[in-house]
Symmetry: D2
Subunit: 377 residues, 4 copies
């Protein structure tokens, strides 16, 4: 038998080990066996709030070392990519330190708690010339990429309308407690999940120029903690509806709703064009419905994900087997590794994440002012 190890490696430093930390760790473990990546990630260091948490995370997620101080991780010479899944308020300091250390930075959404903070981060990254990526994972669905190709290739003509939604039910109970999600700095349904549908809208149709929003707090108070009888006022939106005007002249609307009883992940849209239309819901993430006016039979065709929609084929050579959410994360990490090595990436960078945040902010301003607001840049 012969031993083998010939590809370049890159050390990963992961800050945080919650839902998204676990997802990222899994993606780093899987990616090199599925994609022909230019560098092989090594799960080097994980940081969490306490030594105990960090040690457990390292053990559970397969990192070589751990620390309770993210500064150690950022400054570690073995680390090439800093992955941030820490609370939103820490995104800026960690990212700025990582940028200063010349690392590639991979950050969960939202990029930061305010657009000003996000702008600082984007400008620092651009000044330093480091690679950045923000985890709006749903756009990495091969069918979403396929939709983008269809639209760019003119398959549905000129886009006239976009109707989107991100609806979940995780805050549908008035007894769902306060958390970072209800912190006015970066919280609320629009910022938390509406950002996904806005990111998709930009990815598929282009920049949004003007917005008119209506934000609403359905439950005026929530328990201060799970199970607590003490309740505190809620200062963020449970539900936002907004009208959109795109740079292209297309118009439409979105809804962000985390009190959408019965909905688990209705991240959905219909894009209408002069010669066709596309509709999609994350609830059936392996299906894209395409209508072409020029087609031989009238009606929407249910296109199932398959190898003809890259990079599906990296996971499976046959259609019908289907991808899941964690696979989207693997694709995101493959893009990250390519970008880290100087290649192109389809993932939103800090600048794009800032643009999403500016759209979110414009909707909030619009709601307060009860008027149309131009999206800043």
């Amino acid at each position: 038998m012969q031993s083998l190890d010939d590809r370049p490696h890159v050390g990963i430093g992961l800050v945080g080990s919650g839902f998204m930390g676990r997802c990222q760790a899994n993606a780093f473990a899987s990616v090199a066996g599925l994609f022909d990546v230019p560098v092989v990630p090594v799960k080097s260091v994980i940081a969490d709030a306490t030594p105990q948490l960090a040690m457990k995370a390292a053990r559970d997620l397969g990192f070589e070392r751990f620390t309770e101080d993210w500064h150690d991780l950022v400054e570690d010479d073995s680390i090439g990519i800093v992955a941030i899944t820490a609370p939103n308020v820490l995104h800026e300091p960690i990212a700025l330190a990582a940028i200063a250390a010349g690392k590639t930075v991979y950050c969960e959404k939202p990029l930061s708690t305010t657009a000003d903070s996000a702008r600082v981060m984007a400008e620092a990254a651009e000044a330093a010339g480091v690679v950045t990526s923000v985890a709006f994972g749903f756009i990495h669905n091969p069918l979403i990429r396929f939709a983008r190709h269809l639209i760019r290739d003119g398959e549905i003509g000129e886009v006239t309308g976009f109707r989107g939604r991100h609806a979940e039910n995780y805050m549908a109970s008035p007894d769902a407690p306060h958390s970072f999600r209800t912190d006015p700095a970066g919280g609320g349904a629009l910022a938390d999940i509406g950002s996904h549908i806005l990111c998709l809208a930009r990815f598929l149709v282009g920049p949004v120029s003007e917005v008119m929003g209506e934000q609403r707090t359905i439950f005026p108070t929530r328990p201060i903690a799970a199970g607590s009888a003490d309740r505190a006022p809620v200062d963020v939106d449970d539900m936002t509806s907004a009208l959109l005007r795109f740079d292209t002249g297309a118009t439409g609307s979105i809804e962000a709703n985390w009190a959408a009883t019965g909905r688990t992940l209705d991240l959905s849209f219909e894009i209408t064009g002069t010669h066709g239309a596309i509709h999609f819901s994350q609830e059936r993430m392996n299906e894209l419905h395409l209508y072409r006016a020029a087609g031989p039979a009238s009606g929407f065709t249910k296109i199932e994900s398959g190898p003809e929609h890259p990079p599906y084929g990296q996971f499976c050579p046959a259609p019908g087997h289907q991808l899941g959410f964690n696979d989207l994360k693997v694709i995101e990490v493959a893009e990250l590794l390519t970008a880290h090595s100087g290649g192109p990436s389809r993932a939103p960078d800090f600048r794009e994440a800032l643009n999403v945040q500016l759209t979110v902010d414009a909707i909030s301003v619009s709601s307060r002012n009860k008027s149309w607001v131009a999206v800043g840049n």
Copy 2:
């Protein structure tokens, strides 16, 4: 053998013999065999623009007599109910004449070309004490009635959100020509089909208090007639999106779009409540999807129309057989005959149709003024 004829009859005078005239004639022919109606309609007189058209219509649709002058019909003593399917601009004069003659009036939507005109009609009918009915037929779907019962009975808790749409594709081609539909007096996508989703919103959730709309003409010119090379400017909307605030505090949005490539009749909504949710599309008009937070299994239940949803059982004693659009018209006519005989009706009357029109108008004003507008009454 014995002959039989014992129920009271009512003479029907139908003005117009287009799509909706045919639908109504069919409903009048069917209703007494399916419903235990208090009066049996007799297809007495039909009026159309010329003697030739009127004669052909009478023959095809089974009317006893015909006329090219609707005044004759309105004044005919044998006529108890005047049914108006004439062009929208004629609704007011015909209806006012019928009201003056003390007839029950059954009018296609929209009630008239302006809210002022509609108000004149509603007030005249109320002053005269005649029965009126406006043909927003989709609300007669037994599953829509069932949805209303569910909501009224608190099965989904307090309604928090309404997201509705009426999208069709009959004007999706830039070469679809001008017609009454594009006449600024009563035309445009919002007035033509948006009125259906607004009527449903009112029927299920209640009055809309404030609106913020965005109307848009996608195709700035259209042929002056089918196949013509001459094109004239379009002054009505092809697509309207609007934010809604209901009297109850619920919020939401609607879209009206007659350029919705790929959509034949996506009259659809999702109603979200604190304890449940309902979604429906006319595309699958025999299905209602209900989520109940308290249910034993998590997920939307696909409820198929059946005899447990009156008046489905009038058509068929077994579930699964399904109703079609023309059956909704029969239900509408059964309601009309009941109301004509002094009974209650679930059908919108002239006042309700005026309220729908006022909501349409408020959205138009809002779009021009770029601000929220209160709905008049």
Copy 3:
């Protein structure tokens, strides 16, 4: 005003006034307003078991006269078409009398309680040269006709497989009582509803040459009447599965199941061809799903019923409005009237109904003999 009555008329004599009697009466009332039929049906005479029932039926369903003796009706000179919705055991004597009287005969399915009886009826009709029609109404769905055209035109290549089902739940309770449905003469799930899917199989793919069936009585006893504590053995099948070989070489299977908990009318099939496939369920009777290997996008296209699928346009000039079960009955009656006047008909005649019954019988013999059985003719 002018009076009008110029088309030839034909008197209808309807025997029976249950579910299907009402359906037929409604269809006779509607058809002339929707179709350009060669003769206008007149609801002349209705017969039912007692004078009281017959009088009520005449009144409710709009017949001119009534009788408790179907012989009177059959012999009535004003009657051109005898419509039979009486119990299955009466189909043969009524039909033979009507044939002897030279009437057109329109009979509910099954044609009779045994294949021998059905053969007597078919041969008598052929010898007399009268027009016959048997009410397998589901094949009149415009989308089923469209499917037949697609298949005949080679759009899915050579048909290789047929997988069909007719599943309902009306006998799913062990306490659903005995009735004509459980009478060994003509009863059981296969005869009652399996005949529909076999009729569709023949309509779309062609004659079935050999069968291998498995019939099963799930509930060995049932109450002798609704609510009765007395139970009697059941001698018919609740559920039948069968393998099929078609004359063309295609193979497949069907299931007939009236104890299919949760299913209201899953009359469904998938037809697989060498270049395409079609699937359909009566549960969504306004949708046909078509796959074409040669198409530009891979996947099944959901084709919604519309005017491009005749005779949908007789009911509605626009797609999306949808047809219901009673509309299929109207189409069936339009075919009947055409055939009565010497025109062609797509409806199964007595001979075709006999062929369906022979297929049913072959499956039963196969189940008893535990072997493949050739279908007789």
Copy 4:
């Protein structure tokens, strides 16, 4: 920072690096970060047909060493689990060698090319007391497990019917060439994919006692290799339909069809019980449709996969995110590692795989003999 490595490890030896080899490698890389497994797998050795293939596979899939001789791998002391994804004809010799060496054996389906061979393998494993697992991965879908719990808990009453199918289109072209799939030793649609639906039938309903099958070769010849003009006869089935009788008395049918134009992975079933029903298709693998006769609202409820369906929560703490095929493989490997450490496993072992193969064989015999055949054991 501290280094960390405290859990026991087990060396994995993987034979074969095709589709399923890649899937397995990915699962071994992911499992320890997602599941609290008792042992951490180490990708130690990979074997493939030539040194070049083996080296590339080791590099691509992250194995430490490689060999072109699987005997080396089986005998390697560092290897605790031998994973077999080699051609079917090699399953028996590799497995027997691994069993002789006392290894846990994880084998792709089918277990072997004949039931006799499979029996030899099962008996050898039982005699040696080694842990075995066969990769019928679809049963590891959390919703399939949930379905099993529902059935076992009596939620749908007594199971009366099973209607299943595994339909794909990968051999739907007459020009799809010969391969191991068309080798009479273990090939054909029934053995290749019908085994999946039979495995599911056994998992959910129980053993099948008798079968009656119809096997058919749709395309009598196929090219001897991709693109070749030379064609050779096909001796295996393209499509099989079969009737089933279960030990419990339930009856039903299955279809296996690899020429199912338009279908990518219609591994689907409907299970009917006296008080409820379940239907599922792998095409929408994150949905289970449940009907309960006792439920408050009539209709099938669409249950979306979520943390309430273990082990979904290992992948994601929130519903709606969805699993994909590769996640099922991770679950399968987690079960394998648990079994390897002496815990219980839900995965089919060699004995269960033999039972599936005996059912396949009985269907084949039945088709040849044109008679019902009892399933051996």
